[in-house]
């Protein structure tokens, strides 16, 4: 399959991207608003590349199938939505400790509880601050367009193998369901990633020691050593993998911070504000871990105030505040339960919070 331009639903585009990225397997369990991913894959993946698709009996089973297949050195992926991702947390912690590469997608819906099938960003904390037990980190990618959902599948696999770490794509129900024009990259071959024989369980050949995948180290000093190793890896990831996008920030006097879909709405709001003479720009972290603390901090000399907008009760805003360390005002506007804020509403908040803020 060649490079191609198509009008596609986010979930289906992401599934197509997995096939084209040469993924070996997908294990998942249906949940709205992302069931199209497995539906699309069961329709097309095996015929196209021989990719393995299996509907598991639960998200718990799915993440453990991922653990097994990732441990076999394969390019594996699952997707789910908030309640399902909650069920996977134990498995994710095991995967992170055993340092296995895999791509996990959370098409977030409103919570807590069974919540709503409408979009939300309420799983930011769960994704970037742990979620499961113990000190671990996932690399978290936050797309704001269907195009980025496609591109981040490929990027996600690359990062997962580069760092031998789970990568989470944190998207939402609106992006999953909306149709946009996307450029699909050309089909990559399904091939064994170089070097996996050093750690993967693929059958112990005579020329090497056996490979063991485990997260159990009962000697405290050994377990601390593992932790120190993980922390050192996360630090390197912070040095090398930060990604962000700036919109109209060159001359901005006020900065909106937002991730994912909300950042696009904020761009519209910034344009409306500029029509009214307020110089507003938007800063969008594309990686939520590693988080662009320094880059945000660098704007504290330039902007008079920051408005953080999210579809939750205020989660990323804590990291924004950590970044600016009290040097500028950080205000917050959030909608919850599946409500998506409008550009006009955000504009109103900008005026309410910042008109008359002293320089």
């Amino acid at each position: 399959m060649k490079k191609e331009l198509k009008l596609m639903k986010g979930n289906e585009a992401m599934a197509e991207a997995a096939i084209r990225a040469g993924a070996d397997a997908y294990f998942g369990y249906p949940i709205t608003p992302q069931s199209e991913v497995m539906e699309y894959l069961t329709n097309f993946a095996n015929q196209k590349t021989g990719m393995v698709i299996l509907q598991a009996e639960s998200e718990i089973a799915a993440i453990n199938m991922i653990y097994g297949a990732a441990g076999a050195g394969k390019k594996v992926m699952t997707s789910s939505s908030s309640p399902g991702i909650s069920l996977m947390q134990e498995g994710i912690s095991y995967i992170a400790c055993a340092e296995l590469p895999c791509l996990l997608v959370n098409v977030v819906r409103g919570g807590p509880g069974l919540g709503t099938i409408q979009p939300s960003q309420g799983d930011y904390f769960q994704s970037v601050k742990g979620g499961g037990h113990g000190d671990y980190k996932m690399i978290v990618l936050a797309p704001s367009t269907v195009q980025e959902m496609v591109d981040y599948v490929k990027l996600g696999f690359d990062l997962a193998f580069k760092w031998r770490n789970p990568v989470m794509m944190l998207t939402d129900g609106a992006l999953g369901q909306m149709m946009e024009k996307v450029e699909l990259f050309e089909q990559l071959p399904r091939e064994t990633v170089k070097g996996i024989e050093k750690w993967a369980t693929i059958g112990k050949t005579k020329d090497r020691e056996r490979n063991v995948i485990t997260s159990l180290h009962i000697q405290p000093d050994k377990m601390e050593e593992i932790n120190l190793h993980l922390q050192a890896k996360y630090k390197k990831i912070e040095e090398e993998e930060i990604r962000f996008e700036e919109f109209a920030m060159e001359d901005a006097e006020y900065m909106i911070t937002a991730f994912g879909l909300v950042a696009r709405i904020c761009q519209k709001a910034a344009m409306l504000a500029r029509e009214k003479g307020m110089k507003v720009g938007v800063f969008r972290p594309q990686t939520l871990f590693p988080f662009p603390y320094k880059q945000i901090d660098s704007y504290t000399n330039q902007v008079k105030g920051i408005l953080d907008v999210e579809m939750n009760a205020g989660q990323m805003v804590e990291d924004i505040r950590l970044a600016v360390k009290g040097k500028v005002f950080v205000e917050f506007h959030g909608r919850m339960g599946g409500v998506v804020p409008s550009p006009e509403e955000i504009l109103e908040k900008i005026e309410e919070k910042f008109v008359g803020v002293p320089a």
Partner: protein, 274 residues
């Protein structure tokens, strides 16, 4: 035995061992399987886990599949199974070994995959994974060590704990009105069309050990022929948490466990299939 006789006997054996005749290779009748590592096992004396490990290692050696076998260890006393078997292994989360084995087998269908699980692991927290893995007829081998107790966590009730038995969480004996009856999960599993071979064995005496090994060999051989799921329950003991000597525990197992969990095949392939 009195002290004098002990010393005499010891002397006698020393003399015999010193005689070269029994040390020559031709006379060797027992040795460590290649697949079993020379690591001291952490199991309590008399525990069935160690014997079961050895049988798996022997079976792998005999079939010559060491390079092609991937094992999945559970959470339970056998969590360190990977320290004893010289093959690639993965240690699964509690109860999820069969899902992990599914993941491995689906992406490496040409390899031999087995999971090794205790009763708490397989028949309580992991019941869902167990039933669905069996029902899908995953082409793997499941070895199920049923010792009727949670060994690793110190003797709590297991789903398989017999009626009336005292454990740390059933100090007055398992009351089936409160805790339900012991679960014969192997009987349930035998009903599933995806299961090709289902048997119950033990490792308490030489005859049973030979039968148990045959069952494990069968499991790997059926896997080679892509027949679907093989399920081998090993009724086992836990001297430490049963608070018995190894000999007492085996006797108790024979009298009580074997009555409720009778040894024998629950499902064998049709004649023409064999």
């Amino acid at each position: 035995m009195n002290e004098k006789r002990m010393i005499e006997e010891e002397k006698h054996y020393e003399e015999v061992i010193a005689e070269e005749s029994i040390c020559i290779n031709d006379n060797l009748v027992y040795e460590k399987p290649d697949t079993l590592l020379d690591t001291p096992m952490h199991y309590c004396p008399g525990c069935g886990h160690g014997v079961a490990h050895r049988l798996i290692a022997e079976a792998i050696d005999e079939l010559g599949i060491q390079e092609d076998t991937i094992g999945v260890a559970p959470v339970g006393c056998s969590v360190f199974a990977y320290n004893y078997l010289n093959i690639d292994m993965t240690e699964a989360a509690h109860g999820r070994a069969s899902a992990v084995a599914t993941g491995i087998k689906r992406v490496l269908p040409e390899k031999y995959v087995f999971s090794y699980q205790g009763d708490g692991d397989l028949a309580a927290i992991g019941t869902g994974e167990t039933l669905h893995t069996c029902n899908r007829g995953e082409n793997i081998l499941i070895v199920f060590i049923n010792n009727g107790i949670y060994g690793m966590t110190g003797g709590q009730m297991a789903p398989t704990t017999l009626k009336g038995i005292k454990t740390t969480t059933t100090p007055f004996g398992r009351d089936v009105k409160v805790m339900g009856n012991p679960l014969k999960i192997t009987e349930l599993i035998a009903q599933l069309p995806g299961v090709y071979y289902c048997t119950r064995v033990a490792v308490n005496n030489p005859k049973n050990v030979r039968r148990a090994k045959k069952a494990i060999l069968n499991g790997f051989q059926y896997q080679k022929r892509e027949k679907g799921l093989s399920f081998v329950e090993v009724v086992s003991n836990c001297p430490s948490n049963w608070k018995m000597t190894p000999v007492e525990s085996n006797k108790w197992m024979e009298e009580h466990m074997f009555t409720f969990y009778p040894l024998g095949d629950l499902k064998v392939p049709e004649k023409e299939d064999q």
